[in-house]
């Protein structure tokens, strides 16, 4: 190929790529603008109208909280049981998710599955659990089981099994198969091979994902409370529905929730750092 031809081909390719890039960008911009326009139309308040009042509500809460600062610790104490319930929901769901997801990931790992034919079945089950939004399961279970923390726990557990199962599967793919082969050669059964040959290899990463999941599950459990599953979310919903003059309780719940999320995030991030770098 001559220099000229090469040059021509290069610029043609460049032009083509630039055109695709510009077109993609233009389409994306168009979709964003049109999307915001539609969303704005279907909203009960408009974007620019709301922008002016953006800080009204937080200002109300802050003003009232500072006026009744002395009452805030008492209100926090009052909401503490609800917070503990939310944390318990998240913790149990994370525990169930880790055990269930771990088992599923081992059953779905091509290398160590005891029933290799069933691998796709377990994979699809994990996909389904992951795709199922927690609110769906929670609301249906509230109808059957009544109120209380159990529906939310089950809902978040199902999602956690799916989500952790997938992440654990990715960890399992990098595990060394040799210990398993060694254990097989001395006659170890499947559960022994997994417990002694695989778990020690994957445990740090599994634990790290488990901690991350706990953070996510606290948020999920708070939000489920808001749609009726109990815990701090429910408390928050009640607190803000009382309106002006009673925002001290809402302020207390906000403080509790934000503090909890920050503390758990920081602790889990520190623990995860130790797990991945140390160990």
């Amino acid at each position: 190929m001559t220099n000229e031809a090469l040059r021509g081909a290069y610029f043609r390719e460049l032009r083509r790529r630039r055109l695709t890039g510009a077109l993609t960008l233009a389409l994306l911009t168009l979709a964003m603008v049109a999307g915001f326009w539609i969303a704005d139309m279907r909203n009960s308040g408009t974007f620019f109208g709301g922008l002016r009042h953006l800080f009204d509500f937080p200002a109300d809460i802050l003003a009232e909280a500072s006026r009744k600062a002395a009452k805030i610790p008492g209100e926090c104490l009052h909401s503490l049981p609800a917070l503990i319930e939310t944390l318990n929901i998240a913790a149990v769901a994370t525990l169930v998710g880790t055990l269930g997801g771990g088992l599923m990931s081992l059953l779905a790992a091509p290398g160590f599955a005891p029933f290799p034919r069933a691998v796709p079945v377990f994979r699809r089950m994990m996909d389904l659990g992951r795709a199922l939004p927690e609110i769906v399961v929670a609301l249906v279970l509230i109808y059957v089981l009544g109120g209380g923390p159990v529906p939310a726990t089950i809902a978040i557990s199902i999602h956690s099994i799916g989500a952790l199962g997938k992440l654990f599967s990715e960890v399992n793919e990098n595990a060394d198969l040799k210990p398993v082969e060694g254990l097989t050669s001395v006659g170890a059964v499947w559960s022994q091979r997994m417990a002694v040959g695989v778990l020690p290899q994957v445990a740090p990463n599994w634990l790290s994902y488990m901690l991350l999941r706990f953070e996510i599950n606290i948020r999920a459990s708070a939000i489920l409370g808001f749609v009726g599953a109990g815990g701090i979310g429910y408390e928050l919903k009640n607190a803000i529905s009382w309106g002006k003059g009673r925002y001290d309780e809402a302020a207390a719940v906000f403080i509790l929730l934000i503090l909890t999320i920050i503390v758990v995030d920081q602790t889990s991030s520190a623990l995860r750092n130790r797990l991945t770098t140390g160990a």
């Binding site: 909203n43 009204d56 389904l128 769906v136 209380g148 939000i223 749609v227 934000i258």
Partner: protein, 442 residues
């Protein structure tokens, strides 16, 4: 190695083993203790009392079947047949199913397994092949009188002067002073395609297909396909039109929130990356903004924004946008800190200005990381948009909570769940497809 060394080593190994064993035994014990605490904290023992298994049975039955009510009104002496007992499901005499036969004053309702109810004026005769014949009527004092087959009254029949209720596996009959109702269960989702108010109701698929192919108009005013599409879309029980809108709104919230967050987070991420912003105070400030956005959880953002912007998809999109700006900011700035400086050096050596250095030296390196994260979030936000929609009153989440709140439209709840699952899986598949294509393409 001397014997003394060996014994030290041995003691060390023993100690380590003891510690491991303690952890290996202690951890399960701790977990077990926690679960015992949960057993009491969550009142699992009381769950059996609170659980409404009858609700579960109704729910399950309603997901795949529906009931049609045949009602004889004693006061007006009129007959009505209504699907799911609702006004919108009321049938005209021409639309009566073939198991309802009207012969002058008498109406006979055929039930499965040879059971049958014949209603005429103030009398009803329920024939059950397994049991016998129940004859009921209203007497002169307007009290219910029933003749049952000889023998003790089974517990699925309850009888008083004002009410007779028969709940047999073949079907149910309720008689009160004002009316007699017979329920028959049928498989499927009632009125999914057309409501009885549509001329296309009650035709089989074959009929409809034949009409389309031959061009014989079922509704003379409209073409077959156009009419069917219109009546399906405007079906006022299943509201397919609004459901489609709701699905679109949900995806829209996820799309606007995710892409908007990425667009805002990208320039901010440069400000918080060590290698692009030497000014520590600025970096620290931007990072705290990211932490704040993430720490004040999506739920709180949703509540705060709903106060300012009202209810609807825009509020949901903005809530996702705020939370994810924090997450993206952190992820992007980490990606920027891992950028290979040699590429930027190379671009600089050609005499490129700073903008060109960013455009050709930095952006190509981080785009794959960036895009793959954005796609991940897009998929997971579709799920979040469902629940945020339930709070801000938009999208499929709202329809779902409304349908569950009625506590009877479980067929619609099932339909929405199927749609949500399909939507999330589609987004998952789509984002995976784009991700794979990008990785292979680059």
């Amino acid at each position: 190695m001397t014997a003394a060394d060996l014994s030290v080593l041995r003691a060390d190994v023993d100690r380590r083993f003891a510690r491991r064993r303690a952890v290996a035994l202690g951890l399960p014990v701790l977990v077990l203790a926690y679960l015992v605490y949960i057993f009491f904290a969550f009142d699992i023992a009381g769950l059996a009392k609170r659980a409404r298994l009858d609700n579960a049975a109704i729910l399950l039955a309603d997901t795949y079947s529906y009931r049609t009510a045949v009602t004889q009104d004693h006061r007006t002496d009129t007959l009505s047949v209504a699907i799911k007992g609702s006004r919108k499901g009321t049938l005209t005499p021409a639309q009566y199913p073939d198991w309802v036969k009207v012969d002058g004053k008498a109406t006979s309702v055929e039930l499965p397994h040879g059971a049958k109810v014949v209603m005429s004026g103030d009398t009803a005769v329920f024939t059950l092949p397994q049991y016998g014949v129940i004859r009921a009527r209203l007497d002169a004092q307007n009290h219910i009188v029933a003749d049952l087959p000889p023998g003790p009254r089974p517990d699925w029949i309850s009888l008083s002067r004002t009410r007779l209720a028969v709940t047999a596996p073949e079907g149910r009959m309720n008689m009160t002073r004002s009316k007699t109702e017979v329920f028959r269960y049928s498989l499927g989702w009632a009125m999914f395609f057309f409501t009885p108010s549509s001329p296309y109701y009650g035709h089989s698929v074959v009929d409809l297909a034949r009409a389309v192919l031959t061009g014989d108009r079922i509704d003379p005013a409209r073409g077959n396909l156009a009419g069917m599409a219109e009546d399906f879309w405007r079906n006022d029980v299943w509201t397919h039109g609004s459901v489609a809108w709701a699905m679109f709104e949900t995806v829209l919230m996820a799309f606007l929130g995710t892409i908007g967050a990425a667009l805002i987070a990208l320039p901010l991420a440069f400000l918080s990356a060590r290698n692009f912003t030497p000014l520590m105070s600025l970096r620290f400030g931007v990072r705290r903004v990211f932490d704040f956005l993430r720490g004040v959880d999506g739920l709180i953002w949703t509540i705060l924004l709903a106060r300012a912007f009202g209810l609807g998809p825009l509020t949901g999109a903005l809530a996702i946008l705020l939370t994810d700006t924090g997450s993206f900011g952190k992820i992007f700035s980490e990606a920027l800190e891992n950028v290979d400086t040699r590429q930027i050096e190379g671009i600089r050596s050609t005499g490129a200005n700073p903008v060109q250095r960013y455009r050709f030296g930095v952006i190509p390196q981080i785009v794959p990381v960036l895009m793959s994260q954005v796609l991940y979030f897009l998929e997971s936000n579709t799920r979040s948009a469902t629940i945020i929609g339930a709070i801000v009153g938009g999208g499929i989440g709202l329809l779902l909570t409304q349908a569950i709140a009625t506590q009877k439209d479980w067929d619609q709840v099932t339909y929405y769940i199927v749609l949500i699952l399909g939507m999330v899986m589609l987004m998952d598949w789509l984002s995976g497809l784009i991700r794979r294509r990008m990785i292979r393409g680059k």
